[in-house]
Symmetry: C2
Subunit: 567 residues, 2 copies
Amino acid sequence: MTTDPTSPDGRRIVIVGGVAGGMSAAARARRLDTRARIVVLEQGHYVSFANCGLPYHLSGEIPDRSALLLHTPASLARTLDLDVRTGHRALAIDRAAREVTVRSAAGTYTLPYDALILAPGAEAVRPPIDGLDHPVVHSLRTVPDVDGMRARIDALTDASGRDAPTAVVVGAGFIGLEAVEALVARGLHVHLVELADQVLPPLDAELAPLLAEELLTRGVHLHLGASAQSVAAMDTGSAGVARVTLSDGAVISADLVVVNVGVRPASSLAREAGLELGARGAIRVDADQRTSDPHIWAVGDAVEVVQAVTGAPAPVPLAGPANRQGRRAADAVCGRRTTPQAPVLGTAIVRVFGLTAAVTGASQARLRAAGVDHEVVHLHPAHHAGYFPGAEQIHLVASFAPDGTLLGAQAVGRAGVDKRIDVLATAIRAGMGADDLAELELAYAPPYGSAKDPVNMLGFVAQNVLDGTMPQWQAWDLDEILATTLVLDVRSRTEFDAEHLEGALNIPHTELRQHLGTVREAAAGRPVSVHCASGVRSYLATRVLLADGRDARNLSGGWLTLQAVRP
Amino acid sequence: MTTDPTSPDGRRIVIVGGVAGGMSAAARARRLDTRARIVVLEQGHYVSFANCGLPYHLSGEIPDRSALLLHTPASLARTLDLDVRTGHRALAIDRAAREVTVRSAAGTYTLPYDALILAPGAEAVRPPIDGLDHPVVHSLRTVPDVDGMRARIDALTDASGRDAPTAVVVGAGFIGLEAVEALVARGLHVHLVELADQVLPPLDAELAPLLAEELLTRGVHLHLGASAQSVAAMDTGSAGVARVTLSDGAVISADLVVVNVGVRPASSLAREAGLELGARGAIRVDADQRTSDPHIWAVGDAVEVVQAVTGAPAPVPLAGPANRQGRRAADAVCGRRTTPQAPVLGTAIVRVFGLTAAVTGASQARLRAAGVDHEVVHLHPAHHAGYFPGAEQIHLVASFAPDGTLLGAQAVGRAGVDKRIDVLATAIRAGMGADDLAELELAYAPPYGSAKDPVNMLGFVAQNVLDGTMPQWQAWDLDEILATTLVLDVRSRTEFDAEHLEGALNIPHTELRQHLGTVREAAAGRPVSVHCASGVRSYLATRVLLADGRDARNLSGGWLTLQAVRP
Ligand SMILES: Cc1cc2nc3c(=O)[nH]c(=O)nc-3n(C[C@H](O)[C@H](O)[C@H](O)COP(=O)(O)OP(=O)(O)OC[C@H]3O[C@@H](n4cnc5c(N)ncnc54)[C@H](O)[C@@H]3O)c2cc1C
Ligand SMILES: Cc1cc2nc3c(=O)[nH]c(=O)nc-3n(C[C@H](O)[C@H](O)[C@H](O)COP(=O)(O)OP(=O)(O)OC[C@H]3O[C@@H](n4cnc5c(N)ncnc54)[C@H](O)[C@@H]3O)c2cc1C
Ligand SMILES: CC(C)(COP(=O)(O)OP(=O)(O)OC[C@H]1O[C@@H](n2cnc3c(N)ncnc32)[C@H](O)[C@@H]1OP(=O)(O)O)[C@@H](O)C(=O)NCCC(=O)NCCS
Ligand SMILES: CC(C)(COP(=O)(O)OP(=O)(O)OC[C@H]1O[C@@H](n2cnc3c(N)ncnc32)[C@H](O)[C@@H]1OP(=O)(O)O)[C@@H](O)C(=O)NCCC(=O)NCCS
């Protein structure tokens, strides 16, 4: 039982930024120190608003705008005795005098502090597109942003007798995808433009095509590997419509353009005050959120964190970390034992119509970039017992270190994705490996899971790959495989006839034991590259072939993964 | 890369029991050793059937009976080259000769083995009820059991013009509750009889009333703290109906009686062979599933495991552990490195109409029985962002050691329960504590969770309780609290007026700072026991009172938990 470090003299805590990280810090500080004088400065008109809910108000799924405004300065004064000042912008920090210069409608003033917490968030990156000031161009970051977009959409859809309006969404990241979903829900024709050659760039390349497929199914036009180059007025001069030109030559006449190509830390205040900055200009902090100035802490989108697995520093602009960092900064400011910041996994999730995509830990791209040795496994298990109605396939990819440690996991599917990624995020944080996943004891009854949960299955498969029970080949090596090995397709004849790899030999796995000689001859000394639809039957076949002395390997994730990688 | 331990001479593996543990062992053994001779003995008519799916076939939710039969001996021969013998019962083991005596319709024979795996499962406990042989009495364990019940129900419901038939379900454990749900779905009037004074005895007493409420809402009649004493023919002699007499004097005329009061390890074969037995007659095995005989392994419902947290040995009859133990036994038999059995958490889940109840780790009752010091916290967070439509409350209870280690967790709710329990099961396995939960990075977007997930929230609250930031009182201590302290209700006046504790003082938390004097006077030196609806507002109030020098404590889980404990 620690004693209560209250401040009879009224410790002065000033917080810059009144949303996720800032207001979490303010609330926690008040709970820890009922006597402190806590001032929250927010340049905008709203505090404590649900940024993450904005796309769903845009769509109308959250019909009531006020649901997004979790608090007002008045309610925060009443419940938490906070002095919250909207429309007040922190202009400068005088570290020697411990004062913040603040500008408000009423003028500029200075505010002394004993502890200063910076939670200014991030700023939207403005991509190099000509004509970004055209009135049809919007961004999706704040309440006024959504108000503006809703007004435009209402006006467009009120104009009866005309076709559905057209929107161009630039950037297929998390928020871009949420914007697409929202605009389709509002009845717009949507074009999605993304510089990378896949949607949701943080997603492994094997999974992204599933999202692309879903978007196409919902009528979204995809422009991948393309950038928007200009937004220009129409020759006809018709207002409220713009001509959007893409790098691939496409020209779209758009009623609405939404640009969300990422954010950058809002660190100018910190930089000008001479605080140490790190990766991509983010504010450098220690595990207690303290900056290079002992009286200043910083949290949220504006700060640099250590990424799990690779150890690379980077800003990771997510609400969960921002909220917890705010709480931690308050603990530190109030002299409490803190829960030090753990390396950040970047666990993130997005709904794309009927699909959910989620990631945790290091993606394959990050592992490659960091030069971390890893083995990738692909699975497509059902989200609950296959015999129970409504089982949906989860497409699961995970990377393991040679010693079995789980490094990262990603999943796409219609159900049960969030649960598996949360379990895997917990497992990575705990330093678990393939053996631990194999032995996890997850809740099983038919409506919820399987006796061998997809997470256990991931452990089993990784064990088999890592200990050599199941050597594997990867879909991205197909060209080399076709050139140098015998491809053995152990699916049924019907499946084979429907579609198969050029030159593949078809022996259904149930008949393989009777035809080992055929394989031996066809292989003629070459390795045998086995596959089936998902990897399960071909695993059995691989075992039979290995026992017969073949150099056999199983295609990770089977035909399902192959199709995604090589459509 | 280990080399492949195949057996050119054809290692002889005999497996007793052809369902969860046994068939998992057989399948894994075949994958590891393509040349072994593997015989599976199953006394029943079916192998590889989905026991856990039986209640859902009873209800009709799984309409197709064949969906439950995952394999036949023929399909297992074809895919896995297994010699599966249904209708063959292992009668005795000659350990010296390494032979099993087997009885089949064709006669009795002996079967030699190099390795023997016992997976005989469990047997239904027959409670001391007179007349259990009456034809209306059924149990729910096998495919024929369900066939029989379905036939009876079809006959009952075909008899047109009569009222809905009546069923008595004896035992409100996991399977009993699934049976109740199924019978209600089939249109029966259901009486549920349970010896304990709550449904689902493994559930903490604070959560069980939520299930009881749901059962009552669906028209189920509850007889808690009662036992069935006899099932007797009706005086009228009308066949197909029985008079069921309960210990509390109730007499029910029942068309169907379903008895599921628990299971006991089916260890007679092992016992007669002189293998070492442990808790409740379960077969004793090491972390590799090996029994006291080096050539015999055992898995599943028949074996004793070490329970996590308390370390107490017990059989834990669940499908996940059985499946994984089967896999492990095969690894051991085939000379593979095994994934040793971790202490068993007993993670389990059940759907009760619209509710889900799930548990992992040690319950409070088990902690008390084992004398393990622990602190209990109660929360009622929303399963995803509250501002997103469809947020459902999760009722979450967890126990922590004084050093913060998570010992057990349970939850009831309409959505998101399985996910939280799986994350918490992973956390217990990893040895995580309150600090780790506070820092877990779980997937957040509004449709899936909250920036501060319920699991993080559990960590926060536990930290506050354990470090003295938030002293708490428990609903079960209400009598003492009423007698010795001032109860301060910080809910709004409207909430207070609707219902409140006798003698409580009402000061809404937003007004508390202005009325500290009132509290001081009313307390008159006594401690102040604060509460609100769920614990959040009263936590703020507790902090304010502590700073004012009061000896204040917050009611864990608030009015919601109090109501469940003291209806
Ligand atoms: C549309 C949208 C959807 C999102 N969805 C998700 C999601 O589903 N899941 C997820 O994890 N994350 C999501 N995020 C990200 C998440 O909202 C941010 O990571 C989080 O809000 C960051 O918290 P913060 O406190 O650092 O910054 P913010 O919450 O952005 O708050 C910073 C505040 O500081 C103010 N400010 C800046 N400088 C000054 C100054 N000098 N003086 C005064 N005030 C200042 C700004 O006006 C701003 O209001 C989403 C973000 C957006 C925009
Ligand atoms: C209705 C029902 C619902 C369930 N729901 C769930 C659930 O939702 N989640 C969960 O985790 N668990 C559930 N279970 C429990 C789960 O099914 C068991 O834990 C699991 O099947 C145990 O596996 P086992 O291999 O040990 O035994 P079993 O699967 O029961 O197999 C044992 C087999 O051995 C055979 N046998 C026994 N003795 C001999 C002998 N001498 N010779 C030949 N054969 C023999 C038996 O006939 C039996 O078929 C449920 C069980 C039932 C009955
Ligand atoms: C609304 C806001 C001010 C709330 O901050 P907060 O008070 O720290 O958070 P919550 O309301 O979730 O309450 C959490 C506190 O209640 C406590 N608590 C929760 N349930 C409890 C219970 N049953 N009993 C006792 N205490 C409980 C927690 O321990 C925690 O307190 P602590 O931090 O002192 O340990 C802040 O989160 C905010 O401004 N959010 C909007 C912006 C945002 O987050 N955007 C991004 C996501 S959309
Ligand atoms: C049906 C039954 C025979 C299946 O046993 P099984 O073959 O071990 O289990 P699965 O079919 O789930 O397959 C798991 C295997 O496929 C492998 N696998 C799964 N997905 C894979 C993929 N994409 N690529 C390669 N291998 C894969 C796993 O690694 C595992 O193999 P391993 O144990 O050698 O590592 C057995 O579980 C059974 O009889 N079940 C019914 C009874 C029962 O379980 N009742 C209780 C619950 S209702």
